[in-house]
Symmetry: C2
């Protein structure tokens, strides 16, 4: 089970307002007595918890089980690995599911009143945990998708608190092409009559809307090529508009069903918008100035078939850093798994991440 770190005191937010207190749920792997220079911090994506890998306490496989462990890409025989659930997610850190300490008695959950956060806020959440752990500086921070956004924000806001960073299928600034896809995902939740403006009871939430959102998400996380080689092309009756006549439809329905059992609609809306608002240039003179706060050596990875955050976005980021003399390595993986390749292609990612962490 994760440890929960409560951090008292007001937590100011990028877009204004504040949280009166913050809790951070986290787990760790490897030798916990290792110092910061032997510590790697993993930052989760939208749908991931701090349970990145199995532990003695919780032997269920984590979401990056193939990457974190003895002899793996992030080798727990060598590194202390720390992972915290992100602010706004339903996995133990402060989120719409938390009780709002400012609410009148009987106290209520934040629900739809949770203030809009950005990846910049989530990066400061990770920094607070490192403070509490006495880790002024760590060896590396690693993340994919929304996790990779937190990595970039952490590296920009705290350039002296890390030696290296790895940002996978992420972006320094969200583009309209991605916003369009996320907007439709949010719209499906808002359509569900059980959403009730976000004031639903937790066991009566907008499950149907959240399922549709996840179905669309799954499409954007994978690729047409994967679907076309994986699923049967012939439909089966019934051939009505509401029937899942094709195997790919049954797959999507199952993915949606699994998701509603572990996620919360208000958290989803918050984090979806949070990703839209990713912008290293926010509050800076311009985007480049925001990016160039990053000084540590970095590794930027994209995937050719990424439909959500395509490799042009990582390429622009790497090019901007490289143009200004910042040390950065950039690679594109070719994979039918698209945006999700970091959860599948361990033979490709593992050795590369291991080598970069080792100082290659």
């Amino acid at each position: 089970m994760p440890t929960t770190q409560r951090i008292a005191g007001s937590f100011p937010l990028t877009l204004g307002g504040s949280l009166p207190e913050v809790e951070v749920a986290w787990e760790e792997w490897g030798d916990s007595s290792l110092p910061g220079e032997r510590t790697v911090v993993v930052m989760p994506a939208l749908s991931a918890s701090c349970h990145a890998a199995s532990t003695t306490d919780d032997p269920t496989p984590g979401w990056w089980e193939g990457m974190i462990g003895p002899g793996r890409g992030i080798d727990t025989d060598h590194w202390r690995v720390v992972c915290a659930s992100i602010l706004g997610s339903p996995f133990g850190s402060t989120s719409p599911l938390s009780i709002d300490p400012r609410s009148s008695h009987p106290q209520k959950r934040y629900g739809p009143r949770f203030p809009q956060i950005t990846p910049a806020d989530q990066a400061r959440g990770h920094a607070l945990l490192l403070d509490a752990l006495g880790l002024n500086k760590v060896h590396a921070i690693v993340g994919s998708s929304l996790g990779g956004m937190q990595v970039l924000e952490f590296a920009a806001q705290f350039p002296n608190r890390l030696s290296r960073w790895i940002s996978i299928v992420s972006t320094g600034r969200t583009t309209p092409g991605t916003v369009a896809l996320r907007r439709v995902g949010r719209a499906a939740i808002l359509l569900d009559p059980d959403f009730l403006g976000g004031e639903y009871e937790l066991d009566k939430g907008p499950a149907r809307g959240l399922r549709v959102t996840r179905e669309l998400g799954t499409i954007t996380y994978r690729s047409r090529d994967e679907f076309n080689q994986r699923f049967r092309w012939e439909p089966e009756p019934p051939f009505t508009p509401s029937a899942a006549s094709f195997e790919v439809e049954q797959y999507l329905a199952a993915q949606g069903q699994r998701f509603v059992q572990r996620f919360d609609a208000n958290c989803y809306l918050l984090l979806s918008k949070c990703m839209d608002l990713m912008n290293l240039g926010y509050g800076q003179k311009n985007y480049a100035e925001g990016v160039l706060r990053i000084t540590a050596p970095g590794y930027v990875i994209g995937v050719d078939r990424d439909m959500l955050i395509p490799p042009t976005e990582q390429q622009h980021l790497a090019h901007l850093l490289e143009s200004h003399g910042r040390p950065v390595k950039f690679e594109i993986l070719s994979s039918i798994y698209g945006h999700d390749a970091y959860l599948k292609e361990y033979d490709w990612f593992g050795p590369r991440i291991a080598a970069f962490l080792a100082g290659a």
Copy 2:
């Protein structure tokens, strides 16, 4: 205003069952005394009516105004042009909006009880109109997207009734990668509490769900590159999950709103599933046998950024035809307009279609 042709007698359907009668709404341009060998038939896509271009009766621009007219790609100074609204669409031909003649008194619209049709049925709808017009054989049939599917089905079912065909951003068989996207569009309609299992009153239909469906459709009809070069990258407050903070969101919302004013949810569901069920191999020994019923010279066009029916699908079709000695020309257009390029890139399409119609 379109002319409506009523065709009495049972109309059997590909998947079983029948319609007791069929009405076909259609318009025409050019010299109506021209014979079949000087006639070009245009077949509409999902959201298009028979009003493909302006007429004296109805001077409002049609959906292919830039293609059909004097001196245009389909030159009405040379060709008689005929276009019929497709079966299942809300534009005058038999559809879920039609009164079911088999229903008991007081008679009701088909609504959600309209039998599932396929592009093969729609192609036979076009053939019935040609019968009624006394056109045994026409010079060419042309269509894009679902219209291009009807073209392929017509050419396969009635190889002696055409001299040439043009199929744009279409496919001979729908693949799982496309089904996935359409499924989510249908799910948004089904989510809307006003859908009522399809039994809504026409002025109280599932407008919110249909809007979301069209927003997703619009994304798949265009391209990320277009959105990223066309719309502002900076969001404007409010930054709530339900707000259209980005310009691209306001654009999508406007597209959705326009669509609900002219479309019907039951028709949409029917036509969306109809496209999923496109398969020239249906009822044949195999797919190739179905395709090879096509004998007339054809022109297959794809667009590189087509997210819905990408050019690999047109390439496979053209390759299969060419491999068996069928005369076929294949081209890929590079366009930021993706699937919708046929509605935008008239400078590219116009001369090519004109030349192919002229026998090039």
